[in-house]
Symmetry: C2
Subunit: 498 residues, 2 copies
C-alpha cells in the first residue's frame, strides 16, 4: 500500500525483528521466534515454559478435532492421578528403566517428610493398569478404551527446548485393552492415521507413517508405530507414537478375562499419545526469518485487517471499512481481527503480525476504499492481490485454503529433496555427512543398529533408525543390508534425532 509505505514515522520500532536467521543459527532462531511470536514465555524454572494464548489456541483446535474423532471410536475420557507410588511405578522393569532417570519425586508436604516418596507420572501405563486389572473381569468388559488429556513430567537435563523437550508437557494419552491382538493391531493404525491427519491436515506437515526398530520402540511394549517428521538437515522428529503393548503389561499387572467359553485369557493393550511437541514441530517446519508462519487451520487469528490511513484521506471511512470487513468474515466463521491501534504505523503492525505468523493480512487504504476492494497479503509467500469487497468471504476462504495447501506442498518438496536413497555403507556415510535423511535397505537386526550408532558417533550425534515406512518401496530379491551385508528385510529411514 502506497499510504503505508510512505508514512514511516514509526513511534515504536523497537523490539521487532529477529536477530538470528533460520538457516544460519537454527537453535537461536527457534528460541527467539517462539518468544517474539508470543507462543512461549521462558519460566524461572529451567526446562519449564509458559504456553501463551497464541500457542494454546493451536493446541485447543487440534484437541477439538482429535477428541471428537476418538469419541467416534467409542474411546472415553477419564482422569487418573498425577502421582504414582514407587512400588507400582517399578512393576514393569523394562518400562521403568526407560523412564527412571527422568522421574520427579515428591518427598515433602508442607514441612513434613512423606512416609514414602511419590513419583510424578512420566506417562500413565503403570498408573492405570492396576485398575484395568480390577475393572476387567469378563469378555463383556472388553474392549476397555480410555483416554486422558493431562500434563506429564520428565525431568530431562539435556538441552531443554520449548515444546520439543520440556520437563512438563501437555498431551493426550490413550490406553486401551482388547480381547484379541487383531483388534489391538487395528486400533494402533487407526490412531496413527489420526496423528497423520493432525500433522498433514492441520499443521500442514508431511509425515512418514512407520514402525520403530527394536532399539527405538517404547520401553516395555511389543511394537511402536510413529509419524516421523523430517525437520531438515538429516534430523527426524518423532511426531507422535501409537504403541501396541502386546501382553507384557497385562502379565505384570494381571489383566485377565474370561472369554465366551469360560477360558481365561490375557488382554492385548495399546497406548498412544501426541503432545504439545506438535506445536514446536510446526514452528520449525514453517517458520522463516520474519517469524512464525501459522497454517490457517490452526491459527487463532486467520486474517488480520490493518487500516492504512493517509493524511487527507477519509480515516473514519477506512476504520469503518476495517470493522465491517472483520464482521463479515467473522459471521462466515473465519477467525478475523482488526488492528486499529493508533500508536503504531501500518508498517510496524505488518511486522508484528508477520512475526506472529497470521496467514493472511488485509490492508485497507484510501484507494481500496474508493475501489470497494481490499488488498490481501499472504504470510507464506508474500504475494499480494486485490479483491472486491462484494466477494470477500468466498475469496478469503479460497486464499486460506490455498495457503494451507501451499504450506503442505512446500514442506513436502523440501522433505523429498532432503531424502537420499542409499545401498552401501559408503553412500550412507556420504549422505549422513551431507545431512540427508537416509532411506536404506536393512537387515532389521538390533546388533547392527548398535553398530551403526557406534560407527557414526561424533559431535553431531550418532545416526539411528527413524522408522521403517509402512508403505515399503519394492525390495528386490537379493538386496543386502547397507550396514551388515546380510540380506535386507525392509527399507528403513535413518538420520539423527532432534
Amino acid at each position: 500500500m502506497a499510504g503505508g509505505k510512505k508514512k514511516k514515522e514509526v513511534k515504536k520500532e523497537t523490539g521487532l525483528g529477529l536477530s538470528f536467521k533460520k538457516d544460519e543459527n537454527f537453535g537461536e532462531w527457534y528460541s527467539e521466534v517462539v518468544v517474539h511470536g508470543e507462543m512461549i514465555e521462558y519460566y524461572d524454572i529451567s526446562g519449564c515454559y509458559i504456553l501463551r494464548p497464541w500457542s494454546m489456541g493451536i493446541w485447543e483446535i487440534m484437541q477439538v478435532f482429535f477428541d471428537a474423532e476418538i469419541k467416534k471410536m467409542k474411546i472415553k475420557n477419564c482422569y487418573f492421578p498425577l502421582f504414582v507410588s514407587s512400588s507400582v511405578l517399578e512393576k514393569e522393569k523394562d518400562h521403568i528403566e526407560g523412564f527412571a532417570p527422568e522421574v520427579a519425586w515428591v518427598t515433602k508436604s508442607g514441612k513434613s517428610d512423606l512416609e514414602i516418596p511419590i513419583a510424578i507420572r512420566p506417562t500413565s501405563e503403570t498408573v492405570m493398569y492396576p485398575y484395568f486389572s480390577k475393572w476387567i473381569r469378563g469378555h463383556r468388559d472388553l474392549p476397555l478404551k480410555l483416554n486422558q488429556w493431562c500434563n506429564v513430567v520428565r525431568w530431562e537435563f539435556s538441552n531443554p527446548t520449548p515444546f520439543i523437550r520440556s520437563r512438563e508437557f501437555l498431551w493426550q494419552e490413550g490406553h486401551t485393552a482388547f480381547a484379541t491382538k487383531e483388534e489391538a493391531d487395528e486400533e494402533v493404525l487407526q490412531v496413527l492415521e489420526l496423528y497423520r491427519r493432525i500433522y498433514e491436515e492441520f499443521l500442514a506437515i508431511p509425515v512418514i507413517k512407520g514402525k520403530k526398530s527394536e532399539m527405538e520402540k517404547f520401553a516395555g511394549g511389543l511394537y511402536t508405530t510413529s509419524v516421523e517428521v523430517n525437520k531438515g538437515h538429516g534430523r527426524g522428529v518423532q511426531g507422535a507414537t501409537s504403541h501396541c503393548l502386546g501382553q507384557n503389561f497385562a502379565k505384570m499387572f494381571e489383566i485377565n478375562f474370561e472369554n465366551e467359553k469360560g477360558e481365561k485369557g490375557m488382554v492385548w493393550q495399546n497406548s498412544w499419545a501426541y503432545s504439545t511437541r506438535t506445536i514446536g514441530v510446526m514452528v520449525m517446519v514453517h517458520g522463516d526469518d520474519k517469524g512464525l508462519v501459522l497454517p490457517p487451520k490452526v491459527a487463532s487469528v486467520q486474517v488480520v485487517v490493518v487500516p492504512v490511513p493517509y493524511k487527507d484521506a477519509d480515516t473514519q471511512g477506512i476504520l469503518d471499512a476495517c470493522t465491517a470487513t472483520v464482521e463479515t468474515l467473522s459471521e462466515a466463521g473465519i477467525r478475523a481481527e482488526s488492528d486499529l491501534r493508533d500508536n503504531y504505523s501500518p508498517g510496524w503492525k505488518y511486522s508484528q503480525w508477520e512475526m506472529k505468523g497470521v496467514p493472511l493480512r488485509i490492508e485497507i487504504g484510501p484507494k481500496d476504499l474508493a475501489n470497494n476492494q481490499v488488498r490481501c497479503v499472504r504470510r507464506d509467500n508474500g504475494s499480494k492481490s486485490d479483491i472486491k469487497r462484494d466477494n470477500l468471504v468466498e475469496q478469503v476462504k479460497t486464499l486460506l485454503d490455498n495457503i494451507q495447501q501451499s504450506l503442505l506442498d512446500a514442506a513436502k518438496q523440501k522433505r523429498d529433496a532432503s531424502v537420499q536413497v542409499v545401498k552401501t555403507w559408503d553412500e550412507f556415510k556420504d549422505a549422513l555427512a551431507q545431512k540427508k535423511m537416509i532411506l536404506a535397505p536393512w537387515c532389521d537386526e538390533e546388533e547392527v543398529e548398535k553398530d551403526v550408532k557406534e560407527r557414526t558417533r561424533g559431535e553431531m550425534g550418532a545416526a539411528k533408525s527413524l522408522c521403517s515406512p509402512l508403505e515399503q518401496p519394492e525390495l528386490p530379491e537379493g538386496t543386502i543390508c547397507f550396514a551388515s551385508g546380510k540380506p535386507a528385510k525392509k527399507w528403513t529411514y535413518w538420520g539423527r534425532s532432534y
Copy 2:
C-alpha cells in the same frame, strides 16, 4: 413390564445396591455411591482418586459451557507450569500462609537431589503474576484476561473425600488484570453469575451468591464472592469462588502500567475458579438410597433403553424397537443408549442404571411393541408413563426438561426448609443444634466471628460465617447483631462447613 417382573431368574444379582442410607450414614453412603455409580475409583495413594468416564463426562459438559462463555468475555486460555520455585511462592505472605501446610515439594529427580526444592502449584497466583508484571507495560496491555484448565495439588490431611477434598483436583483458574477497580468489580460478578448458572442450570442445585467475611476470604485478596450450597444438616459447601485481589499482588509483584496521561498506575486483579468439587456437590444434593441421580443436562447418558423380552414374545422385534428408539433419540441430539446384554435380567439392569443415575429409563416389552409405545420411568421420582413412539422425541425432551426442573425445585424446597432466620444468640444456638443453616443480622466484625467460632466449638465442628448474600433482606434500622449486640450491618448466613 409384566414380563420383566415375572422373569426374575437373575444370573448375577451380586454387588448391586447400597449398604448405607443417605439419611443414616451420609459419609459412608457418599463413598459408596461414588464408587458403585462408577464416578470414582479409590486410588492407592490416599486422597487421590480416579475420575472415571462417568464423572469426566459431567466435567466435560460443564467445561464446554464455561469455556465458551469466558471466550465471549475475551478471556483467553493459556498454560503455566505445574512447578513454582519457593522464592516466588513465598512472595505474598498472607497468601502463602494460607497454603503453606498443604504444599507438595519435589526434591529429587531420578536419583539426584534437586539444588532447591520445587513446589507443585496449590493455585497459580504466584506462578503467573511475575509474568503479568513483564507483559503489562502500558494501558493498552490492559485488560489482561487469562484462564487455564489444569490440575492443582493441596496435600490435605484431614478427611479426604472424593471430589470434595482431594489432594489433586481439576479446575479452571481465571486470572485477570484491569486498569480500574470498577472493571475488576464488574468481572467478579459476571463470573459469579456463570458459576450460579453452572450450579442452577446444569447441576440443578440452588445457590446463594454472597460475599465472604474477612476471616473467610481468599488469603491475600481484597474480597471474595462465592456461590454457596446448602447441603442440608446445617452444612454449607463453598461451590465456587470469584475473588477481587485488589492491588495487593500487584504491589508484591510490581504489576504497574502507564496510563493515557503517562502516569504510573498499579493494576487491579481478580482470580476465580471452580473445580471438580462441583460434581461431588451434585452427588450429595441429588443422590438417594438407590444411587446417583444425574440431572439430564450433565448426564453422559440421558436415556437408557432396556428391552423386556417375554418367553413367547417377539424378542427380535423388541430388540429392534430398542435399537430404533436409540437411533431416533440420538438423531435428535438426545444422549441415549440401549442395554441389550443378554446375561442380565431387566430388573438387574434397572438397578444398575438407577445406581448410575440415568435420568430416564425406557422399557420396551411385548405390550409396548403391540401398542407402538414405550414405557418411561423417571429416575428422580420413579413416576411411569407410556408414550407413543410416533411422538417419541418431543415427549422425551419434555420429560428430560421436567426432570431437570423438578430436581432444582426439590433441592430449593429442601434448602428453604432448612434455613432458619434468627436474631439472638439463643435462637442461633438452638438453630445450630437443630442443624439448620442460619441467616442472622451481623455486625461484620472479625473479632465477633472469632468469638462465635470459639463459643460453638464441639465435635460437630465450630460454626462459621458462610456468606453475606448479595441480595440482602431488609435490615430495619436499629437491628442488632445476634452475637455481639452491636448494630448489625448485614444479614449473613452461618453454619458448619462440610
